[in-house]
Each structure stands twice: as C-alpha cells, then as structure tokens.
Symmetry: C2
Subunit: 109 residues, 2 copies
C-alpha cells in the first residue's frame, strides 16, 4: 500500500473504526492489518499522534480500562462532533471519487 496515499485518509479510517465500537490503540493496528489482508500496517508513530490529534479536536474521547489482572488499555470512543466529522469526511471521500470518475471520462470537456 502506498503510504503517501494514506495521507489525509488516516483520520477517516480511524474514525470509521471507532464509530463501530470503542477500541484501544494497539487493537486498531491489529484490526486494520487483518481487515486489509495484511496489506496495510499502520505504524504506531502514525497511530498515537493521530489519536491525540483527534482527541484535541474533540472528535473522540478516551478512558483507561483497569480490569483485575489485565494490562491497562486506553480506549477511544466517538463524540457527537466526531460523528459529524466522520460524515463530512465520508462526503469528501465520495466527492473525490466522483471527481476521479469524471476525470477519466472528460476527454471532450
């Protein structure tokens, strides 16, 4: 997978995951790898700053889990603002897709 193409799409991907259910960071990397059939590995140097950024923007919030005998995990959950932003990004994605479609058929225009 072209890493340059992930630029700008990282947030959309993470928001899509978190919208389904609360996840912790490390779990996201594993899940993305599995969902992409091992094609894409999000580096932790990408993931954790991205989560911080999204929290700062108010799209997600986090909480620590502390069950007995388990390792601590920091879970992320969506906010209303995050849902709004996700919808916005989904629309943008669709717009770019439409633009690409038209570009491939624009010889005479």
């Amino acid at each position: 997978m072209d890493k340059e193409m992930m630029k700008g799409n990282i947030d959309l991907i993470l928001l899509s995951l978190i919208a389904e259910r609360d996840l912790y960071g490390y779990e996201m990397t594993k899940k993305l790898k599995r969902l992409s059939d091992e094609a894409y590995s999000m580096s932790e140097g990408t993931l954790y700053p991205a989560l911080k950024r999204m929290e700062r923007k108010g799209w997600v919030t986090s909480y620590w889990s502390a069950p007995e005998g388990e390792r601590r995990k920091k879970y992320y959950t969506m906010t209303k603002e995050g849902e709004t932003e996700l919808e916005r990004k989904q629309k943008d994605w669709a717009s770019i897709q439409s633009l690409l479609y038209k570009a491939r058929r624009s010889y005479d225009t």
Copy 2:
C-alpha cells in the same frame, strides 16, 4: 473540500486527467473546478509543484506549444511509467475504499 484529504490524492487526480488527453496547467485547474461543480479549486501553488514533482519522477513529460498568435502553454503528457503509476494508485484507492467498507462493518471482528 477538506484540504487535508487531498494529500496523497492530488497526484491521482492529475494523472487521471492527463491520461485522458494532454493538458496544460491552467487548463487543469479550470477543468477540475468545472468537473467538481465549482466545489474544488486546486491552487496554482499546489498544481505547479505537483506537476514538477511528477515530471521529476518520470510519470509525465511536458512540451511548450507555440501556435501563431496564441499564448505559450506548457502541455503535459503521460509516460509509460505514469500509466503504471496511475494503475497502482487506482488499486491503492480501491484498497482503501475496501478497508473503509470493512471498517464500518467490523463490530464483531
């Protein structure tokens, strides 16, 4: 349109346009604006460096047009390498789309 989301997609968009037929830079901005129903304006500060970059990578080549009585225009045309790269980027785009699709249905996984 979210400008952060354009990152990494600029090259794909431009390659898609140039693959259809040779274009000059200024023409590309007008065409993109029209194809997007005025929603997206690619700034010239984005366009020209992008074209230079792609030429440096061997994806496109350029030539000046010099018809009588017309302004000079710098046209860009695809190379074999550019076609290969376009196909690669189209596959990457499809992969991300598939990943997004799966992410939205991954509650139990």
